[in-house]
């Protein structure tokens, strides 16, 4: 464990040295996601300015939901972006074989290989939204609330990563996993808004099947004092379980790969 943390640090340093070689690219990449987020936020701002509330949720309350999902997504974006590009830049190019002749775990190697700076923009937007909304809503940053938020965001990030890992594993059968990943990943956009605006079936989907709701709606509800029962505490449990399942699926895919070489 300690060895992997140290190694991750060295990979990260290596990545930043590359990014410093291309400073302008770094700035454009990191800020491009901010612009993309502003488009969605302007919509909420314009619409919410004309109505008192969205299904009982005020402007700042919606921003909190939106901010939490953005933070969780940014963790996935920064630390696990290679799950998107595994087919194109690793498996089909043969670079994945390199990971298999090195004395470290291939999944670790894949994730550590590229920290994605574009995610920084998402992180900043998410953090700003959470800071702004909690301040406006008078949610105090007590140690308990801070810890709860941290756990919620990390669990949310883990849910994103686990689902992407499962879909990325399809690469070992179909050599390009982006379409599969894209379809599952897109459903997270439901969780940018309070789940109560949706049909019951969609709520169940976003809670129990593709639990992106656990990254935004339920933690936000808890912080706002809205009754969601045990679901307020479920994120870390589900995240952990999902990670274990995802890693199993990944190992299964890896065995298939060593059986076929793709």
């Amino acid at each position: 464990m300690r060895r992997y943390l140290t190694l991750y640090w060295y990979f990260l340093l290596q990545r930043f040295k590359i990014l410093l070689e291309y400073r302008a690219n770094f700035m454009i990449g990191a800020s491009s996601t901010i612009i993309l987020q502003i488009a969605g936020l302007l919509t909420i701002w314009v619409v919410m300015g004309q109505i008192p509330d969205l299904n009982g949720w005020g402007f700042d309350e919606v921003l909190l939901v939106y901010g939490l999902i953005t933070l969780a997504k940014s963790i996935n974006h920064m630390f696990a972006d290679n799950l998107w590009t595994i087919g194109w830049s690793y498996v089909r190019s043969g670079q994945f074989d390199r990971f298999l002749v090195r004395p470290i775990d291939p999944l670790f190697h894949l994730l550590a290989d590229r920290f994605c700076h574009d995610g920084i923009g998402n992180f900043l937007v998410g953090a700003a939204l959470v800071a702004k909304s909690t301040a406006s809503l008078g949610i105090a940053w007590t140690p308990f609330n801070a810890l709860y938020l941290a756990v919620a965001v990390l669990s949310g990030g883990a849910i994103f990563i686990a689902l992407n890992l499962i879909t990325a594993t399809s690469v070992f059968w179909i050599t390009e996993s982006i379409p599969v990943t894209q379809v599952i990943f897109n459903t997270h956009e439901f969780a940018q808004y309070p789940l109560t605006i949706y049909h019951r079936g969609i709520q169940i989907l976003l809670t129990w099947v593709l639990p992106y709701g656990l990254a935004s709606f339920y933690p936000a509800s808890f912080l706002l004092g809205r009754e969601v029962g045990a679901l307020a505490w479920l994120s870390p449990v589900v995240a952990l379980a999902l990670l274990v399942i995802a890693f199993r699926v990944w190992l299964f895919g890896l065995r298939h790969y060593s059986g076929t070489g793709s």
Binding site: Q14, L100, R255, S258, G259
Partner: protein
């Protein structure tokens, strides 16, 4: 005690069979059918520590599949492989510490960074102790003339410089076995020489075992006392390079430039036609059956010869003959 031992090693791929078109795609999903493709078929060999072995075959013969099984990337379908006493697939990580792999033109170096940055990180991945790392670095800096290259980003290197850098990165953890896939491809002669020299030196000084796949027969002639030839997944030759040369070296080729029509000439006994053009005739003859002067005499008696030349077959033509079916049964050295 062999360092690599392969017994009856086979790899069969199951390839999904797809009919063309949308209907075919649907069928492939609903009722998938598979075809078996035998990439490697019952290969056995063993390699002793410190050997340099040339592993050759045409594209698609099963070379890289074998290498992938030896390095632990692929699991054999049948048979058994032991590298340093381990199963390279099941004990992949332990095996990885002891081997180094150069994958053709696929680099393991960070394109945008100074070479030394790549080396540092590779050393960290392999947990090379700092003192040992420094010692090896100094040694490579000298033997591969890397000194001035350490600060150069890979993207600014020439092909030859890149390969030197690649070799250094592959050997920086002092692996006991290295697998080199086409290490000299695309390089000019001087750089090739230098790289071969380095491989030889590494083998002699550190006792590193080398498995080399290449299309460059110069590599084989200079580096490999022993070659393993595979064709269509099966081993067709395993033995010293000298046996092959001796066996096929009994043939000579003689080429005549003629004034008259060469195709009219009768073939002298003990010789056969390799190529015939209106003004050019190439014959191959068996030295144990006839002599160059007898063949030349016979031809000159038949037609007017302007010039002629005699060639000793190089390994390239030997290999060509072997692939062409001259070695239907394995030769025992």
């Amino acid at each position: 005690m062999p360092i690599i031992q392969a017994e009856n090693l086979s790899k069969v791929f199951r390839i999904p069979h797809k009919d063309p078109g949308v209907a075919g795609a649907f069928k492939a999903v609903l009722r998938p059918r598979f075809e078996d493709k035998v990439a490697v078929n019952g290969i056995s060999f063993s390699v002793e520590p410190g050997e340099i072995v040339g592993y050759i075959g045409v594209n698609g013969a099963g070379k890289s599949t074998t290498i992938k099984m030896l390095t632990g990337i692929l699991m054999p379908t049948r048979g058994n492989v032991q590298v340093l006493g381990r199963d390279p697939h099941r004990q992949r990580v332990a095996n990885a510490r002891d081997i180094g792999v150069v994958f053709g033109q696929r680099s393991q170096l960070w394109w945008d960074l100074a070479f030394i940055e790549s080396l540092n990180l590779v050393a960290k991945i392999y947990e090379v102790p700092p003192a040992r790392y420094k010692q090896l670095l100094d040694q490579f800096a000298e033997t591969l003339e890397l000194g001035e290259l350490l600060r150069v980003p890979i993207r600014n290197m020439s092909l030859g410089q890149k390969m030197r850098a690649e070799l250094a990165a592959t050997l920086i953890h002092a692996p006991r076995i290295v697998y080199l896939d086409e290490p000299t491809i695309g390089l000019d002669l001087i750089v090739k020489e230098r790289i071969r020299e380095f491989i030889k030196q590494q083998n002699r000084a550190a006792g590193t075992t080398v498995i080399l796949t290449t299309h460059d027969l110069g590599d084989i002639e200079e580096l490999c006392p022993r070659v393993i030839i595979i064709d269509a997944g099966a081993l067709i030759y395993d033995g010293p390079i000298s046996t092959i040369k001796a066996r096929f070296g009994k043939y000579r080729e003689i080429t005549f430039e003629t004034l008259g029509d060469a195709s009219a000439c009768a073939v002298p006994p003990g010789a056969e036609i390799v190529g015939a053009e209106p003004r050019k005739l190439t014959l191959r003859f068996d030295r144990t059956l006839t002599t160059a002067s007898q063949v030349a005499q016979a031809v000159m008696n038949a037609i007017e010869v302007k010039d002629f030349s005699l060639a000793e077959p190089d390994l390239a033509s030997v290999i060509k003959q072997i692939y062409g079916g001259a070695l239907r049964e394995p030769v025992t050295p």
